[in-house]
C-alpha cells in the first residue's frame, strides 16, 4: 500500500466566483427580510396579508386622485373634500401599525424557533449586522407603505393642477421634505418597539397581540391619566401613548391638528418632545435587541 493519494475530478468544481464577505451577507439578510415581510418567494398565503394591507394603503390615494380628476373635469372650481398629505398620514399610520405588528415577529421569531441562527453566525455576519439588517428591512417596507401613496398623490395632484404639472411640482415642492420627515417619524416610531417585543416573545401571534395591546391600552390609560388626575407629573404619562406620538409630530410637520387631540397635545408638550421620546425609545429598543442577539448569535 502506498502513502500517496490522488483526488480525481469527477465533476465537482469549487466555487471560484466573488466572495462578497460581510457586506454581501448584510445585503442578503436585508433583502431576505424584505422578501419575508412581503411574502415574496414564499407560498401564496404568505402574500395575502401584506399585499392586502398594501392595497388598503394605496386604494384611498387612488380614490383621492381619481376624485380630484373628476372634479377637475366636471367642477373645476370646487375644492376636493379630502386629500391632504397630513390627513393621509393619519389614515395610513394605523394600517402601517398593523403591518409592523405582523411583520416584526415574522422577521425575528422563525429564525430563533427553527434554530437557524447558527447558520447566520457561521457566515461573515456579526450579531449587530443581523439586527440592523432586519431593522433596515422593516423600516424600508414600512416607510414604503407610507411613502408610495404620498408620492402618488403628489404627482397625481400636480398632474391635475390648473397651473400645469411642472409648475405644480415646483410650487408644492415644500411638501417633499415634510412627506419624507413624516414617513421617517412614523417608521421609526413603530418599528423598534415591535422588534423589541418580537425579540422576547416566542410566538408570532403573542408578539402581535402584545404589541397592539401595549399601544392601544397604553394610549387609553395615558389619556385618562393626563385628563383626569391631579397628581404631580401626570402630564409626563402622555409619553406612554406610543401609538399617538408620531401623530403629534405629524401635526407639527404639517401645521395641522389631528381629528382627536393626542395625549401629548393634551398634556401641553411641544412636538419636539414627542420626537425626542420617539428617538429615545427607538435607541433603547434597538440597544436591547442588539444586546439580546449578541448573546444568541
Amino acid at each position: 500500500m502506498t502513502d500517496s493519494g490522488v483526488v480525481y475530478d469527477l465533476g465537482y468544481k469549487p466555487y471560484e466566483g466573488d466572495k462578497r464577505g460581510r457586506r454581501g451577507a448584510v445585503a442578503t439578510t436585508y433583502r431576505d427580510g424584505n422578501y419575508r415581510v412581503l411574502g415574496i418567494k414564499r407560498r401564496a398565503r404568505k402574500k395575502i396579508l401584506p399585499w392586502a394591507l398594501a392595497a388598503f394603503v394605496m386604494v384611498p390615494a387612488v380614490v383621492f386622485v381619481g376624485f380630484a380628476f373628476l372634479l377637475s373635469t366636471f367642477a373645476p372650481e370646487a375644492d376636493s373634500p379630502f386629500g391632504s398629505h397630513a390627513d393621509y398620514f393619519e389614515l395610513t399610520g394605523t394600517i402601517v401599525l398593523l403591518f409592523v405588528a405582523l411583520a416584526a415577529p415574522e422577521l425575528l421569531i422563525p429564525d430563533r424557533r427553527e434554530g437557524v441562527l447558527s447558520i447566520y453566525s457561521s457566515r461573515p455576519l456579526l450579531p449587530d449586522d443581523y439586527v440592523l439588517a432586519r431593522f433596515g428591512s422593516l423600516l424600508t417596507v414600512a416607510a414604503g407603505f407610507m411613502l408610495i401613496p404620498q408620492v402618488l398623490m403628489y404627482f397625481g395632484f400636480a398632474a391635475l393642477d390648473a397651473d400645469g404639472f411642472f409648475s405644480a411640482l415646483w410650487s408644492n415642492g415644500g411638501a417633499i421634505p415634510r412627506i419624507l420627515a413624516a414617513t421617517a417619524v412614523y417608521a421609526i416610531a413603530y418599528t423598534p418597539l415591535a422588534l423589541l417585543i418580537a425579540t422576547v416573545a416566542n410566538r408570532k401571534s403573542a408578539a402581535t397581540g402584545v404589541y397592539l395591546g401595549t399601544l392601544l391600552i397604553g394610549t387609553i390609560l395615558s389619556a385618562a391619566l393626563v385628563e383626569a388626575t391631579t397628581m404631580p407629573g401626570r402630564r409626563y404619562t402622555a409619553m406612554l401613548a406610543f401609538g399617538e406620538l408620531p401623530t403629534h409630530v405629524n401635526d407639527w410637520i404639517w401645521g395641522t391638528s389631528s381629528s382627536e387631540p393626542t395625549p401629548m397635545a393634551m398634556a401641553g408638550f411641544d412636538a419636539w418632545v414627542s420626537l425626542l421620546v420617539i428617538g429615545a425609545v427607538a435607541v433603547i429598543a434597538t440597544l436591547i435587541v442588539v444586546w439580546r442577539y449578541r448573546r444568541l448569535l
Binding site: 408570532k204 401571534s205 397581540g209 387609553i220 390609560l221 388626575t229
Partner: protein, 252 residues
C-alpha cells in the same frame, strides 16, 4: 380524571410561563393603577363614573379579549405546530376528555388573569369608596367573557396559526365596530355577554336607564349569559373532539 387533570396542569404550565405571567399581570393591573391615581380626589359619583370608563372602555373591550385570545389560541394550536400533538393523542383517553382538558387550561389561565384584573380594578374602587359590591360581579363577568373567548379561540388556534390576527379583527372590527353600531347584535359579542352578567349581578342602582342607553350594549339576563357561556363551551369541546377524532393530525 387523572389524565385530564395532568393535561390541564401541563398545559397551564406551558402557556403561563413566568415571563407571560409578569407581562399579563402588569397589563391586567394597569387599569387599576391608573384608576387609583385618577380617582383619589374624586367624589363617589365621579369615582364610579371613572370606574365605568375603565370597565367599558379598557377592561371588557380590550383587556379581556386580547389576553383571552392570546392564551386560548396557543393552547392546542401550539401543540400541533410544535409537533407534540402525537404525544398527546396517542393515549387511551377519549378525545372529548383531551378537548375538555385543553379548554379547561385556557379558561384557568385566561379566566384567572382576567379575574385578577377585575379584582384589582374593583378593589381599587372599594379602597376609594368603601363599596365592595362590584368585586364579585366584575370577576364573574370577566370570567364568563373569558370562557366564551376560549371556546372560540381554542379550536381556531388549532386550525390556523393566524388565530390571534383573526381574533384581533373579530374584536376590533366586529365587536368594537359593527356591534357598537348595531347594538342588536350584542349577543354575538363575548365581552358584552360578560358585561351583561356584571350588570345583572351589580347593585341595581349602579346604572340609570340613561347611562345604559349610552353604552354600546344591549343587555341580556344573567341566566341567558350563563346559558350562552355553557353552550359555547360545550360546542367548542365537541368541535375539538370531533377534529381530534377525524382529522389528520400531522401534515405530509
Amino acid at each position: 380524571m387523572r389524565p385530564a387533570w395532568a393535561i390541564t396542569v401541563a398545559t397551564v404550565r406551558q402557556v403561563l410561563t413566568l415571563r407571560r405571567a409578569i407581562v399579563f399581570g402588569l397589563a391586567e393591573a394597569s387599569p387599576a393603577l391608573v384608576y387609583l391615581l385618577v380617582a383619589n380626589t374624586l367624589s363617589d359619583e365621579a369615582a364610579l363614573d371613572r370606574l365605568g370608563f375603565m370597565i367599558l372602555i379598557v377592561y371588557f373591550p380590550l383587556l379581556v379579549p386580547i389576553v383571552s385570545l392570546i392564551v386560548a389560541s396557543g393552547v392546542l394550536g401550539a401543540e400541533r405546530r410544535d409537533g407534540t400533538l402525537s404525544f398527546l393523542v396517542l393515549r387511551p383517553i377519549p378525545r372529548w376528555v383531551i378537548a375538555a382538558a385543553k379548554a379547561a387550561a385556557a379558561v384557568i389561565v385566561a379566566g384567572g388573569l382576567n379575574a385578577f384584573g377585575a379584582l384589582a380594578l374593583t378593589v381599587s374602587y372599594a379602597v376609594e369608596t368603601g363599596n365592595w359590591n362590584l368585586v364579585v360581579p366584575l370577576v364573574v363577568g370577566g370570567v364568563l367573557a373569558s370562557i366564551i373567548y376560549a371556546a372560540i379561540f381554542v379550536p381556531l388556534g388549532f386550525f390556523t396559526d393566524r388565530a390571534v390576527l383573526v381574533g384581533l379583527l373579530f374584536v376590533f372590527v366586529f365587536e368594537n365596530g359593527i356591534v357598537t353600531a348595531l347594538r342588536g347584535l350584542s349577543a354575538l359579542s363575548p365581552w358584552r355577554t360578560g358585561f351583561s352578567a356584571f350588570i345583572a349581578l351589580a347593585p341595581p342602582d349602579l346604572l340609570t336607564g340613561e347611562d345604559l342607553a349610552e353604552t354600546p350594549v344591549e343587555l341580556i339576563s344573567l341566566s341567558t349569559a350563563a346559558l350562552w357561556t355553557a353552550l359555547a363551551a360545550l360546542v367548542s369541546v365537541a368541535l375539538v373532539a370531533l377534529v381530534l377524532r377525524n382529522r389528520d393530525l400531522t401534515s405530509e
